[in-house]
């Protein structure tokens, strides 16, 4: 022991535990409109402050302000509102089916709808998405069939994944939506590899990948950023910081001493920290990064700063580890309400049309649900168990044929 020195171990604590007040006052929140918008080919060394501020367009009065205002026309904004509402309606309905035992599992993205929808709009339809399990809003925004999504959730005969995957682990090649993996972060270096291949072929399509705050701790986060930086891959690496992993607060992932966008700096990659509940800010930042990548100016990391309003999944109950007061104390509001109020402020929307739209979308989801359920729900075999032995390899090898026969098929 060296005289006069005594080390101590630091264990981060969250802002609140059940029963306590929620306190987000420590968080870096800045006013809308204050962050300047750089050129898409700005050198990364000129962008080192971006991870430590917050790109916001919608102010507290729901007005669009500042250089990052994408100036989208009202029609597009209404589309965005619709896709966000549709996602929320879809989530609410599928949660119910899980409670009813029609599926074993479900994951909502409540509060994160702007992230997915605005990013889907800002990217080209043929750009390749490497999602996590919380990007259902992107499939909806790209117009994928909700019936098909439901059939995967029910593992019924219309499940194109042949009942092999957990509910919501979608895979939709024709929508540029990569097969979701149960292993966190593995899609991150894969997205970089895909983007490198696209660059190698002189293509114009870029890749984008999503992980959560907790997942940034995985090895493949570093592997992806290193390769993206070295080969200047045309890729957008998104981190949806919804403040929680499962029960652990983002400080446990390394959000206490810095921000997740800041991880990018050290690789010479721009890191943008964006108000994830601000549809316009998310759209604008994503469009900037996409143009940067598409013009051979390299990768961007985007931290989407938001809050997970719901449970991690239907297997989780947040009341066991966080204060219920948090959701309301959350300083950045709700993405749907904020875009709605913005449209109303523009005179492009009103409460009646909103209520009517909600009703219409609920009806649509219900109609799709009826159709999906008509093909069966949890327990309906999706196909013959014989298919269990297929697709391990392209062709069935002898040992699997023997096993299939042994299994009686």
């Amino acid at each position: 022991m060296k005289q006069g020195y005594k080390l101590k171990l630091h264990i981060p604590e969250p802002p609140s535990r059940p029963g306590e007040e929620a306190d987000f006052s420590e968080f870096i929140i800045v006013d809308a409109g204050v962050v300047p918008k750089p050129a898409v080919d700005a050198g990364d060394h000129t962008l080192r402050e971006y991870p430590f501020t917050l790109i916001r367009v919608l102010d507290d009065a729901h007005q669009a302000v500042g250089e990052w205002d994408p100036q989208l026309d009202p029609e597009r904004l209404r589309d965005g509102l619709k896709d966000m509402l549709l996602t929320r309606s879809f989530d609410a309905r599928m949660l119910k089916t899980q409670r009813q035992g029609k599926t074993s599992f479900y994951m909502q993205c409540t509060g994160e709808e702007a992230c997915g929808v605005a990013q889907a709009y800002a990217l080209d339809d043929d750009d390749m998405l490497f999602p996590s399990y919380r990007q259902q809003s992107m499939l909806i925004a790209r117009g994928h069939s909700m019936v098909e999504m439901m059939c995967q959730i029910f593992n019924n005969p219309m499940d194109r994944l042949k009942g092999r995957q957990l509910p919501i682990m979608y895979s939709v090649p024709e929508k540029g939506f990569f097969s979701i993996s149960g292993n966190l972060c593995t899609q991150y270096p894969q997205a970089v590899g895909w983007a490198m291949a696209s660059a190698f072929k002189g293509d114009s399509r870029i890749a984008a990948a999503w992980i959560g705050d907790g997942t940034t701790a995985e090895s493949d986060f570093h592997n992806a950023l290193t390769f993206a930086a070295v080969y200047q891959a045309p890729v957008i690496l998104n981190v949806t910081n919804n403040q929680y992993a499962i029960s652990s607060f983002q400080a446990i992932a390394g959000g206490e001493q810095s921000t997740f966008a800041a991880r990018a700096i050290g690789y010479g990659i721009p890191g943008l920290r964006v108000d994830g509940n601000d549809f316009l800010a998310v759209y604008s930042a994503t469009a900037w990064a996409a143009e940067r990548a598409r013009t051979n100016n390299g990768p961007t990391v985007i931290e989407l700063y938001t809050y997970r309003q719901a449970a991690h999944s239907t297997s989780d109950d947040p009341s066991g580890y966080r204060s219920a007061a948090e959701a309301t104390a959350w300083p950045l509001g709700d993405p749907i309400n904020r875009l709605k109020q913005h449209l109303i402020g523009l005179g492009e929307w009103d409460e009646q049309r909103h209520a009517a739209l909600e009703a219409e979308l609920d009806a649509q989801v219900l109609k799709d649900l009826k159709e999906a359920e008509s093909h069966g729900t949890l327990g309906t075999p999706p196909c013959s168990p014989a298919s269990m032995f297929e697709d391990v390899f392209k062709e069935l090898p002898p040992h699997l044929r023997r096993q299939r026969q042994q299994a009686g098929y």
Partner: protein
């Protein structure tokens, strides 16, 4: 004596060791305040403080690397990997470091770590919450691997694992956390509270690693099983008129080969069962050893009942799970063999 399910027994073992040894600490994803997604560490942070039971970043390699460093310092870390399906990012730290450190340092450094992780299917978890990776680790010299089949063993074996000066993988069959599972998903589950092996002493006791346990004596055939499959074996045997001897291996490395050989020499027939995929699963090693030591006593080929060589398919869990039906077929097959 108290009635405990497997989670409670595992929790009790850690509680006890943390109480006895201030250098025992535990950590993992969601392990701290929340007490683990399966609640195995529930109450430990409250009781021993956040420095001895805490959450980690979602980085399995970081978790094991940190544990090895702590072990080198002199602590006895107990790391939880949330699901064994997620142990692969830590493969290098386990295989190249934890398993090799004592050897490469001429015995001058070692890391007495315990790695707990739930294994196996039958909980509708799909292909990334159902795997049984014990086979790959059994090929890695320097690692011990334990797989308990009941609360009583779980506590006694976990205590031995924590006290052991070598790295120990402690795989917990999650399907039997709440009660013995015989393989019939459509039948009600008897909780451990109604099972004699759910009777667990509150205080300290250790079950030595490397010792198998004969669950049922018999003369016709030897069934080798571990974890959930021990209960499947008991159910299957009970449904036949075959007088099978059932051995619960409990530890696969080191393996209690003597107990196995003695039994097979007696019965002359053998079936091995595990949930992991067939090819190069631990069943293959068991068969290779048995045919070497018991060749002249064997009256029939040794049968393997295992998971298929495919990922664990979510919707076809019960077609995949090696249940009593398949084991009975195998038993009849080895009995009928001339």
């Amino acid at each position: 004596m108290a009635q405990m399910n497997m989670i409670q027994a595992i929790n009790s073992a850690m509680d006890l060791m943390m109480d006895r040894d201030p250098d025992v600490i535990t950590f993992g994803e969601d392990v701290g305040y929340f007490g683990g997604v399966f609640r195995a560490t529930a109450g430990l942070q409250k009781k021993y403080g956040s420095q001895r039971c805490f959450d980690t970043p979602i980085s399995e390699s970081g978790i094991i690397g940190m544990a090895v460093g702590m072990g080198v310092y002199g602590l006895r870390p107990v790391a939880e990997i949330q699901f064994a399906d997620y142990i692969y990012p830590a493969f290098d730290q386990l295989v190249s470091e934890a398993a090799r450190l004592r050897y490469r340092s001429g015995g001058e450094f070692h890391a007495p770590i315990t790695v707990r992780s739930p294994v196996g299917g039958g909980i509708y978890g799909g292909q990334t919450h159902s795997q049984s990776p014990e086979g790959v680790f059994s090929h890695v010299c320097g690692l011990k691997t334990v797989i308990p089949s009941n609360p009583y063993d779980a506590k006694g074996l976990l205590i031995s694992a924590i006290e052991d000066d070598d790295p120990v993988l402690f795989f917990e069959p999650k399907r039997i956390y709440n009660g013995p599972f015989e393989g019939y998903h459509d039948r009600p589950l008897t909780p451990w509270s109604k099972h004699p092996l759910g009777e667990v002493p509150e205080d300290y006791y250790a079950i030595p690693l490397g010792k198998a346990k004969t669950i049922r004596e018999g003369s016709d055939v030897t069934v080798l099983a571990y974890g959930t499959m021990v209960h499947v074996a008991q159910a299957a045997v009970a449904e036949t008129d075959i007088d099978a001897e059932i051995i619960d291996l409990r530890t696969i490395i080191p393996l209690d080969i003597d107990a196995i050989v003695e039994s097979v020499k007696k019965t002359g027939r053998c079936v091995v069962i595990h949930e992991a995929t067939r090819t190069s699963g631990f069943g293959a090693e068991l068969i290779a050893e048995i045919q070497e030591y018991c060749f002249y006593h064997l009256e029939a080929p040794i049968e393997r009942v295992t998971g298929w060589d495919t990922p664990y398919p979510h919707a076809f869990e019960w077609e995949y799970f090696p249940g009593p039906k398949r084991l009975k077929e195998a038993l009849h097959k080895v009995m009928e063999a001339a």
